[in-house]
């Protein structure tokens, strides 16, 4: 097995606010291989966006990474200075944000916004940067690239703006693309186009993608592997087919059950009852326990992340942070909940 492209160990990030400290990420481990699409899924406040923004220390005011390592291609990014980190941002790692309406500078032509990444990281002329920007526009399939390059963001539709964002992120041929809810702000039909584009670009250019979403449908369509986050921790991770076929964590099952089935018109929506925990004072045990239909007394103690080595019924590369997967858990209990 080759060395992973990125490996996060025990990442912890908190936000200090006037109303207390929010423990957004509480010890996340993550491994990403070259060319892989890893989905991060969870509700709002689960820590999925903060996890991937912590990799490049792109945190809003008040955000602090309190511990952990993020080894990318042999270097721990969290130990780099801001100046060293800025050589990684936009060059080795590109980022696509959620809302293409607000993520582009409204007072600058899209061409300049692409060119400035190239001029920052590559020793090339303005003319060459412009040529490359047009080439990138064609890569992300923006029609009439040569003329559209001189337009301002407000002259594009949402889907086209997200293509511009992707072009910016890909400008320097990164090995990793972080896509933070890239389709959440878009129409459903446009969503599919953008996801198809991301997947196609991965196949052509070979970069790895971390795809953050709250939509399991997006994961099913796009990702190779998936991590389910809740309360700033990884609840379950598995290959996408395994997660859909054999979800282990009660939270994952709740999420899957919450996907409406259009073939059954009589089916009522079945959301996961309750609401996410207050991350200023997260539960001491399993964060999902207060909402969990299978909660037991032992759930007040934090469970470990169990793998196939601990519990035979887990698939290879599947992990779950649940007492039900503890080797000591009675078999009939697992049968009853499975």
């Amino acid at each position: 097995m080759t060395a992973p492209l990125l490996s996060l160990r025990d990442l912890r990030t908190e936000y200090r606010t006037d109303r207390g400290t929010v423990q957004a990420v509480r010890g996340v481990d993550l491994t990403l291989h070259r060319g892989e699409i890893l989905g991060l899924v969870g509700e709002s406040g689960s820590g999925k966006s903060v996890t991937c923004m912590s990799i490049l220390k792109l945190l809003k005011r008040g955000g602090h990474i309190t511990s952990g390592t993020a080894v990318y291609d042999g270097t721990d990014l969290l130990k780099l200075s801001e100046a060293q980190l800025s050589r990684v941002r936009g060059d080795k790692i590109g980022v696509v944000f959620q809302d293409p309406m607000s993520a582009l500078n409204p007072t600058m032509t899209v061409g300049r916004q692409i060119e400035e990444v190239l001029l920052q990281h590559r020793k090339i002329s303005k003319k060459a940067a412009r040529a490359r920007a047009i080439e990138l526009f064609k890569l992300v399939r923006i029609p009439s690239a040569e003329t559209r390059i001189d337009n301002y963001p407000h002259e594009f539709s949402g889907g086209m703006r997200q293509r511009v964002m992707i072009a910016i992120a890909l400008a320097c041929d990164p090995d990793l693309l972080i896509a933070d809810e890239p389709t959440t702000a878009l129409d459903v039909t446009i969503q599919r186009q953008i996801l198809a584009l991301l997947k196609e670009l991965r196949d052509r250019l070979g970069m790895a993608i971390i795809l953050v979403t709250h939509d399991l449908g997006v994961i099913a369509e796009t990702a190779d592997r998936v991590m389910v986050l809740y309360g700033g921790q990884v609840m379950e991770q598995a290959r996408v087919t395994d997660l859909f076929e054999a979800p282990q964590h009660p939270y994952t099952r709740g999420l899957l059950a919450a996907i409406p089935d259009p073939r059954r018109s009589d089916s009522a929506l079945s959301p996961v009852p309750g609401s996410p925990p207050d991350m200023r004072a997260p539960p001491s045990g399993c964060p999902f326990a207060p909402r969990c239909p299978n909660a037991m007394a032992i759930c007040l103690t934090p469970p470990d992340l169990y793998g196939a080595g601990d519990t035979p019924r887990l698939r290879p590369a599947q992990y779950t942070r649940c007492w039900l997967a503890d080797p000591a858990a009675p078999a009939d209990l697992m049968e009853a909940t499975g």
């Binding site: 809003k60 936009g90 060059d91 607000s102 993520a103 409204p106 007072t107 400035e116 910016i168």
Partner: protein
């Protein structure tokens, strides 16, 4: 898409027309107010002989019906003639404004330069150093500049620098050093105001999503702020700069009084105590026209600052 296509000539024409209508309202209102005020320009403690007063009234047309006075005044204004001063024989209001403006514009222009060239950079430096000592210091001084009235700044600085230390002359603009104190007193408030506005607007802009995009591109923090933050945070600053320019160029009575500068602000206030009707009206109209022009210029600057803005209905 260039600026011209976002500002159709029809829009500009309409805009100028609206300015003229507003100006007509200003003229009519000031004229009506002047004539509603009891007494007249030639009523004073020293009783004039009735024949002399009648002769004066006749000379300036004050014996005519009001509507006729109004029409002839309006006709004059249309020809850029604001009429003769009632107080100073042989002096026209036009020449009063021209003379006053020549003085006021010198200190006013320098004050504007100070506001822009010192106020904006101070705000930027404070924002770049948010929470650290340059920010604290700049905002402390700026708060003082806003809180302390200009006449206090003027008299205290006059006392310290002109009388005690003797570094600057106490009045007049014969020497370049004579400009320092009046310009400082004039610009102190607006410099402080603009510094605070620049800082807060810039910090607000720095929280926007596209700033995060700029950081994610690997641009250095300074570039992020200056290239992506500054332009977008300048809109509120430009908005206040329009009226500030009009304000500083039309002078401040207090400052002109303290430094004995024969500027337009001083003329204006003196014309009120003198009941110099045409001078009051003329300067008011001049100020109104100037303010409207500055606001138009601000609107045109928006076009340059923000490509999303366009005027008139465009297909």
């Amino acid at each position: 898409m260039n600026s011209a296509s976002r500002m159709p000539l029809a829009w500009l024409g309409q805009r100028v027309l609206m300015m003229l209508v507003t100006l007509l309202a200003v003229i009519t209102l000031t004229f009506a107010l002047m004539h509603a005020v009891p007494g007249g320009p030639f009523v004073s403690e020293k009783m004039l002989a009735p024949e002399i007063e009648a002769a004066l009234n006749a000379k300036f047309g004050l014996d005519q019906p009001v509507w006729r006075q109004y029409l002839s005044y309006l006709w004059g204004v249309l020809q850029f003639d604001l009429g003769p001063s009632f107080k100073y024989p042989g002096v026209s209001v036009n020449s009063m404004i021209a003379e006053g403006l020549a003085v006021t514009a010198q200190t006013g222009l320098l004050a504007i330069i100070c506001v822009v060239a010192l106020g904006v950079p101070t705000g930027i430096v404070a924002a770049l150093n948010r929470g650290r000592w340059p920010d604290t210091l700049a905002m402390f001084v700026a708060s003082l500049g806003i809180a302390v009235p200009s006449y206090v700044i003027a008299t205290v600085s006059l006392y310290v620098f002109a009388l005690r230390l003797g570094w600057t002359p106490a009045f007049g603009l014969d020497d370049w050093r004579g400009y320092i104190l009046p310009v400082f007193a004039l610009s102190g408030f607006w410099m402080s105001f603009v510094a605070r506005l620049t800082r807060s607007s810039l910090l607000e802009t720095m929280e926007l999503d596209y700033i995060m995009t700029a950081r994610a591109k690997g641009l250095p923090a300074r570039t992020v702020m200056l290239r992506h933050g500054l332009r977008n945070s300048m809109i509120p600053v430009v908005t206040v700069l329009g009226p500030v320019v009009a304000n500083l160029l039309t002078g401040s009575f207090v400052i002109e009084q303290i430094f004995a500068l024969p500027g337009i602000g001083r003329h204006f206030v003196l014309s009120i105590t003198n009941r110099d009707y045409t001078a009051i009206m003329g300067i008011t109209i001049f100020y109104a026209a100037f303010l409207m022009l500055m606001i138009l210029i601000v609107d045109l600057l928006y076009l340059w600052l923000d490509p999303r803005i366009s005027y008139g209905d465009r297909k």
